[in-house]
């Protein structure tokens, strides 16, 4: 009787149709090991089967792009013979099951993606989302998850020796049972020393390096492609264990091994472990790979071929070396105290052939695994939304109290409690660390710098996935421009619910299309990224949350602070006060925090105008004409003004005549606006004018006060103190 029953197929999260396709590709029934191999390679996580047809719509090229999607990380040219490799990846599901290890291995995985290319990681940023900390039912769990995730990120990054320089931390009820942990990493690479995950050269040895293989993380990729149910908590053994010390050694050893010239191709063993690295390296090179599992270093006894092939033990790499030069590789790994062993060789027949002590246990065409996964153009209807278009009746009783409530809300309060646990300075490249509009790290090799911003906005994307995604790209580009950098490339992490629901699939499709439009417009091609679907718990999906990582280039210079620095400076609003209406107010923090509602549409975006604003602020910063610059985003003008005052220098401002009601005027989140302080207002106006951007003089900086004439006045400390302590109070409630 066959061992592969329909139940076994279903237990591997393969559909009957997918199983039929396996039968026809193989021309026979698979062994259990082969079924396991197919199931991980054809999982959503590894194959992108639901998103692939739509991801093709994203722009991926420019003159600066050296390497687009498809490899472990994208690379762009930064001049002087160097490139930067960067990518974002999610570890959402593992972080819910085991927050500390889930987040830690998320950091470990993306770092390996970067140094696999030959790049030394110099920066990490994290975009993390949780359920509300004060929820009566789930608050305690959410607090525990947040603390675990933050410690996990800190543990891994700090020990590895890469600075965590920024990110975002956001709260919403929809992330209650499904936190998001998206980690971005960036490294520097000499352009002539880029390594690829390709098994080239028939007869070349296939070498396993790094940690020994254990039983941890088996079926992690399949788990990451399932919805959560009550049983999910039973899946804890599926989460991998990270060892940042081992990863640090692996980094040094891999870079040193690459330097010998004996490495032909290299790939990290991440999701789907040994399976994925062997078949993808073969598939990319059009070759076959034959390995014998008896040579795989193992830390447990009695592991079956199925377990060895599917293990997601961390800190492992697979490399293909030039035949005859194996010893050079072994010497380097010995020096760093790491295992290295030849486990097989490259063949000419395109097959993945796995033996266990000589006995054949799997024989599958590499391309069938890596490239023949079913591709679904899943039905999509109108994006899911369950909120009205019309605004409810509302009226503020006290604008100052509203502002304080916003400043103490989860999304807007100070994240110092989080980022002080991260080493944000190691490698001495951090010009601007956590807490600013964008992080800036210098590249010592080129004498230039890189600015990075991670942004997402689930509420905007829920109200309108297409416009929301554009706004997210616009904001990330605005952040990078506000510190003086030119946005040049992007990486995306698409966090969505179950794509088999047409209204969720529609969110994904529209968000990708909106993102494609915006990335084309802002000239930030997407060089790689990650798709995380099935972010649902008990049938409740998360808000559609595409997260963008935008990378910009700039000269190395002292950063322009986001806060006012001196008294008696002119305060100007680049881009003007903007316009809006109640319908476009329904996705704002004001609606979320004070009215606890969502309605209408996200703020309206004029991409052409937005781009002009970016050009204007970049030139102003480059010319040294502004003393501070801070973009307006969550919470609108009043929140930006308060934040700009937190070094103790506030401002007295008068907003120009407007027909907007006070709540909208102060808190609307219309894009394309930047708050600056300057000693040379005429020159700022002149330069802004050149870009077709208004630069409205609204007031003067003063010590210790925040005054919006006619609306609110507060001492800086009245705003700063609650903002600074809110997160810690919420965590220790």
């Amino acid at each position: 009787m066959s061992t592969i029953t329909p139940e076994v197929v279903a237990a591997h999260s393969l559909t009957p149709d997918e199983y039929q396709k396996i039968l026809s590709l193989l021309g026979r029934e698979p062994s259990l090991t082969e079924l396991g191999i197919f199931s991980v390679m054809w999982s959503e996580h590894c194959s992108y089967k639901s998103s692939k047809v739509h991801l093709k719509k994203l722009p991926t090229r420019s003159q600066l792009v050296l390497l687009g999607p498809g490899e472990n990380a994208g690379i762009i040219d930064i001049g002087k013979g160097y490139g930067i490799a960067f990518k974002i990846e999610s570890h959402n599901h593992p972080s819910f099951i085991e927050p500390f290890q889930g987040a830690a291995t998320g950091v470990g995985g993306i770092l390996r993606d970067i140094f696999t290319m030959g790049a030394r990681p110099i920066a990490v940023l994290d975009s993390i989302r949780f359920g509300p900390l004060d929820d009566p039912q789930t608050g305690a769990r959410n607090r525990r998850i947040l603390e675990g995730v933050v410690s996990g990120i800190a543990h891994y990054g700090n020990c590895f020796g890469v600075p965590t320089v920024g990110g975002e931390c956001v709260f919403h009820k929809s992330y209650d049972g499904n936190p998001l942990v998206n980690v971005f990493a960036l490294g520097v690479i000499p352009k002539d020393k880029i390594f690829f995950g390709r098994a080239e050269g028939i007869g070349n040895p296939v070498i396993y390096v790094g940690a020994k293989t254990g039983r941890d993380g088996i079926h992690g990729a399949t788990m990451a492609s399932d919805e959560f149910t009550e049983e999910s908590k039973q899946k804890r053994p599926n989460v991998q264990m990270g060892d940042p010390f081992l990863e640090k050694l692996l980094l040094e050893a891999c870079l040193e091994a690459m330097y010998t010239g004996a490495v032909v191709g290299i790939q990290d063993m991440g999701a789907a472990g040994l399976t994925c690295s062997t078949c993808e390296m073969g598939s990319r090179a059009g070759t076959g790979v034959e390995i014998d599992l008896k040579y795989v270093p193992q830390r447990e006894t009695g592991m079956s071929p199925y377990e060895i092939m599917l293990s997601e033990s961390q800190e492992r790499m697979l490399l293909v070396a030039e035949k005859g030069r194996e010893q050079e590789i072994f010497d380097v790994f010995n020096k760093w105290g790491l295992d290295s062993a030849t486990i097989g060789f490259v063949t000419d027949d395109g097959m993945l052939r796995v033996r266990d002590h000589g006995v054949l246990v799997a024989e599958i065409n590499n391309r069938d695994l890596a490239d023949e996964a079913p591709i679904y153009n899943r039905p999509h209807t109108k994006p899911h939304r369950n909120v009205p278009m019309e605004a409810p009746a509302f009226a503020s009783a006290d604008l100052k109290a509203d502002l304080i409530q916003l400043l103490t809300s989860g999304d807007l309060c100070s994240k110092k409690w989080i980022y002080e646990q991260y080493d944000s300075m190691v490698r001495t490249n951090t010009l601007s660390g956590p807490g600013g509009d964008a992080a800036i790290v210098r590249v010592k090799e080129t004498g230039t710098s890189v600015a990075i911003s991670l942004d997402g906005n689930g509420r905007y994307c829920y109200l309108d996935p297409r416009e929301g995604a554009k706004l997210v790209v616009a904001e990330a580009c605005r952040n990078v421009s506000t510190v003086g950098a030119l946005p040049v490339a992007a990486t995306n992490n698409l966090n969505f619910g179950n794509p088999q629901r047409p209204e969720i699939m529609a969110q994904l499709v529209e968000a990708i299309e909106g993102m494609a439009d915006a990335c084309l417009h802002f000239e930030t091609p997407i060089t790689g990224g990650n798709v995380s679907l099935y972010n649902e718990t008990l049938g409740e999906g998360i808000l559609p949350t595409p997260v963008m990582g935008i990378v910009g280039l700039m000269p190395t210079q002292a950063p322009v602070p986001s806060r006012f620095q001196n008294e008696d400076r002119t305060v100007m609003l680049l881009g003007g006060i903007g316009n809006t209406d109640e319908v476009h107010f329904g996705g704002t923090q004001y609606a979320h925090v004070l009215l606890k509602q969502m309605w209408g549409l996200p703020p309206a975006l004029d991409m052409a105008f937005e781009k002009n604003v970016h050009a204007a602020i970049r030139e102003l910063v480059g010319a040294g004409l502004v003393e501070s610059a801070h973009d307006l985003s969550d919470g609108g003008f009043a929140v930006a003004l308060a934040e700009a005052s937190f070094d103790g220098i506030g401002a007295t401002v008068t907003l120009p005549g407007s027909s907007l009601r006070p709540e909208l005027l102060l808190f609307h989140e219309g894009p394309s606006r930047i708050l600056v302080s300057t000693n040379s207002p005429e020159e700022v106006s002149k330069l802004a004018d050149k870009h077709g951007v208004p630069a409205v003089i609204i007031g003067t900086t003063v010590k210790g006060q925040v005054v919006i004439e006619g609306y609110l006045r507060a001492a800086v400390e009245e705003l700063h103190q609650p903002w600074a302590t809110a997160l810690e109070s919420a965590l220790h409630a």
Binding site: N158, C159, F245, K248, Q421, D423, M425, V426, T428, L431
Partner: protein, 223 residues
């Protein structure tokens, strides 16, 4: 001046110390591998850098003290050679007995990374002779186990012998008597939790770490 920066498996501020010495101080530096058992004769000062030597899994610095290079560093120090340990380097110096006391988990139980204000408590060391007594320096910390602890009589002795080199103005980790850095009785071995190598370039926000390196330069000239 030529500094020898020790590289343990898991050191991660080794490159930073090397860069600070060569680029910002304008001196020479070499990396010393942990398996080496002698300090090259042209080395004037040994730096034990920050990081997580051997993963710091058992206890910070507990394994590093058994490495061949530490044997050589002890001989070097015993012969009057200058030795500085920053962060993990300080932890290793207490573990191997070149400095008294121990660094335990921060009282807040969390890793902390931010600039701190340090008060220079003595200028009678080769590491602080270029500063003023009582001068406040801004230098970052980045550690989870930086709470300095020792028996009361040891602390009394450190104070009596003018061996407390730096104190925190605002204690970030619970260190007894606000101690951030100390030296040995011979005054040629310094251990401090803050990272002076991270404060040697105006772009990093502070150049106060240069006081330590400039002090070394003048001490070496005087030698």
């Amino acid at each position: 001046m030529k500094a020898g920066v020790v590289v343990f498996p898991g050191s991660n501020c080794d490159h930073d110390a090397h860069y600070a010495v060569t680029q910002n101080v304008g001196a020479q530096a070499a990396l010393l591998w942990h398996q080496e058992s002698t300090i090259p004769s042209d080395i004037d000062v040994v730096i034990l850098p920050g990081g997580f030597s051997y993963g710091d899994y058992l206890r910070c610095g507990a394994i590093a003290k058994f490495s061949p290079i530490i044997g050589a560093v002890k001989k070097f120090a015993d012969a009057g050679g200058l030795v500085m340990g920053f962060c993990n380097g300080f932890q290793i110096l207490t573990e191997c007995g070149l400095l008294p006391g121990a660094l335990i988990r921060n009282n807040g139980l969390k890793f902390r990374c931010h600039p701190v204000s340090l008060r220079v408590e003595t200028t009678n060391t080769p590491f602080t002779n270029a500063a003023e007594k009582g001068q406040i320096l801004s230098i970052p910390i980045a550690h989870g186990e930086g709470c300095y602890t020792a028996e009361p009589h040891v602390l009394d002795q450190l104070e009596a012998e003018d061996r407390v080199v730096f104190r925190y103005v605002q204690n970030p980790n619970g260190s007894l008597r606000d101690i951030a850095g100390i030296c040995n009785a011979g005054r040629n071995v310094l251990g401090m939790m803050p990272h002076p190598e991270r404060a040697t370039d105006p772009l990093m926000g502070s150049t106060d770490g240069l006081f330590v390196f400039r002090s070394l330069l003048s001490a070496l000239v005087a030698k």
